[in-house]
């Protein structure tokens, strides 16, 4: 019998929600890492019992946690052992140091600060963890200030892909309201050398050589809040989604505008269509219908809650432009929550389940592709991220 395991990162800890394939009755476990901000958790597609978590705090910095038993127990990778004596340097799972080495690194430069001055790159936290599609010990981390790291030892040590930070356009990157974060990492299942990432506010980038070289892929984006609205970089991309069954077709929720690309990000087209507002954060693709996509429209960049207090998901079965409102089971009034960029996910059961969490602490599920919704939990801390594992 199939099961689903929903990994929920919140402002004050992590929670794991489990159910059978009916997705009607749920068990809730947690909080794990109580009191800490859990920006993201994600399981390995190679070994679903291996789950990586980003635990962070303004006080104590970054901690990486890993479970090898499906979230029952957790440990800091390599962190519980006394360091080995020289010459082997100790592995430190929370040591995210930008690579400035002559061999593989790039000089530590500056990016644009909120006031327009230049500001040095400073590591703050891990926003997103993306386990490898082929190796359980390999995992990618998107961090603030924007950079991409990889671990090949189960999260015990990390190395930066400095070619991204050192692309040369860094002085034009700037932090969004949440910081200058690399929040989206998409691995191409058909090409292990191809990775897509997105940064707020720099835009989307792609590597075709395993992370050594990167190029901005923002042609077609229009952002009126930067001096040149069609600039190569500087766009506030909120999230990007891709169906694993159709690599190269990307969907983007930008600060404003929902976009799609059919050529691996080389060109983008606006597909906001009849959405009541095309501001938002989350976007995802149906597991079996690559032209069916989901967004949660948010009123505006200055009012981060649904229009008219009605929490609604919008679905397009045509890859954008034509959208239908999904509201059955969702609050019809007095809902003034937000749905953050990593807080929507889909399972891969035959009847695809859609999930999202809110800053009000609710996690909703639709076990039928969005037609009907029900809350799984009502009162968690503000939800930062939602990921789903489909377990056979």
């Amino acid at each position: 019998m199939s099961k689903v395991r929903v990994l929920v990162g919140t402002h004050k800890g992590a929670f794991i929600l489990t159910s059978d394939g009916k997705r009607k009755d749920w068990e809730v476990s947690g909080p794990f890492f109580a009191g800490w901000e859990i920006y993201h958790m994600k399981g390995s597609p190679v070994n679903p019992d291996r789950i990586y978590a980003s635990q962070t705090s303004s006080w104590f910095g970054q901690v990486i946690q890993r479970s090898d038993d499906g979230g029952k127990t957790w440990a800091i990778p390599g962190g519980g052992q006394v360091p080995a004596p020289d010459p082997e340097p100790p592995k430190v799972s929370n040591k995210f140091v930008y690579d400035v080495s002559a061999e593989t690194g790039k000089p530590l430069t500056t990016h644009q600060w909120y006031d327009g001055t230049q500001h040095p790159w400073e590591f703050k936290r891990v926003w997103h963890m993306e386990p490898s599609l082929t190796e359980a010990d390999a995992v990618y981390a998107g961090v603030e200030d924007a950079a991409l790291f990889r671990s090949t030892d189960g999260g015990a040590s990390w190395h930066e892909f400095a070619g991204l930070r050192g692309h040369g356009t860094g002085p034009d990157w700037q932090p969004g309201a949440g910081g200058m974060c690399l929040h989206t990492v998409i691995l191409d299942p058909g090409d292990p050398e191809r990775i897509y990432i997105a940064i707020s506010a720099a835009g989307a980038f792609r590597t075709d050589d395993g992370g050594k070289n990167w190029k901005p892929i923002n042609r077609g984006l229009y952002s009126k809040y930067i001096p040149n609205p069609t600039a190569e970089v500087g766009h506030c991309v909120h999230h990007v989604a891709m169906s694993p069954s159709r690599p190269g077709v990307l969907f983007m929720q930008k600060h404003w505008h929902v976009m799609r690309s059919d050529d691996a990000g080389d060109n983008w087209t606006k597909v906001s269509g009849n959405l009541p507002t095309d501001f938002g954060f989350a976007i995802d693709v149906h597991a079996h219908e690559p032209e069916t996509i989901y967004v949660v429209p948010i009123k505006s960049d200055s009012e981060h809650y649904p229009l008219d207090g009605k929490l609604r998901v919008f679905r397009s079965r045509t890859g954008g432009n034509e959208w239908e409102e999904l509201s059955k089971g969702l609050p019809e009034k007095d809902s003034y929550v937000n749905v953050l960029r990593d807080a929507m996910a889909v399972d891969t059961l035959d009847d695809c389940g859609i999930y999202f969490g809110t800053t009000g602490g609710q996690v909703y599920v639709s076990p039928d592709g969005g037609d009907n919704w029900q809350p799984i939990v009502h009162n968690l801390p503000a939800v930062f991220s939602v990921e789903v594992q489909t377990l056979k």
Binding site: W59, F60, G61, V63, I76, G79, Q81, V92, N94, V97
Partner: protein, 107 residues
């Protein structure tokens, strides 16, 4: 006798609840610290014994104190004193603990 030949001192340290949880500790901890007893030597000893705390109190590279943490002892704020300055005798002798405090409560 040189400082290196002196026996280590037993220093008492209190760390915030979240760090105690990470290190799987309860209550105050005691560390053997080589003389001279300074902020640097105490933190070196703390991180050597509890590697999971590396990076949570001071930066991995610069070894600077994380901004939201403070060091108190003997009713004094020692956060801004040089990291190699001797700590008060009362701390070095174990009479008083070194307090590592989260600077801002709540949130």
């Amino acid at each position: 006798m040189s400082a290196a030949e002196n026996p280590p001192r037993t220093v008492r340290v209190e760390i915030p609840q979240h760090l105690r949880t990470l290190a799987q500790l309860t209550g105050e901890l005691q560390l053997e610290v080589a003389e001279p007893v300074t902020l640097r030597s105490v933190l070196d000893a703390l991180e050597a014994r509890y590697p999971m705390l590396r990076g949570t109190i001071r930066d991995h590279v610069t070894l600077e104190r994380r901004p939201f943490l403070r060091f108190f002892a003997c009713e004094e704020d020692l956060s801004h004193q040089p990291r190699d300055a001797p700590l008060p005798d009362a701390v070095a002798s174990g009479k008083e603990p070194l307090l590592i405090i989260g600077a801002i409560a709540g949130g």
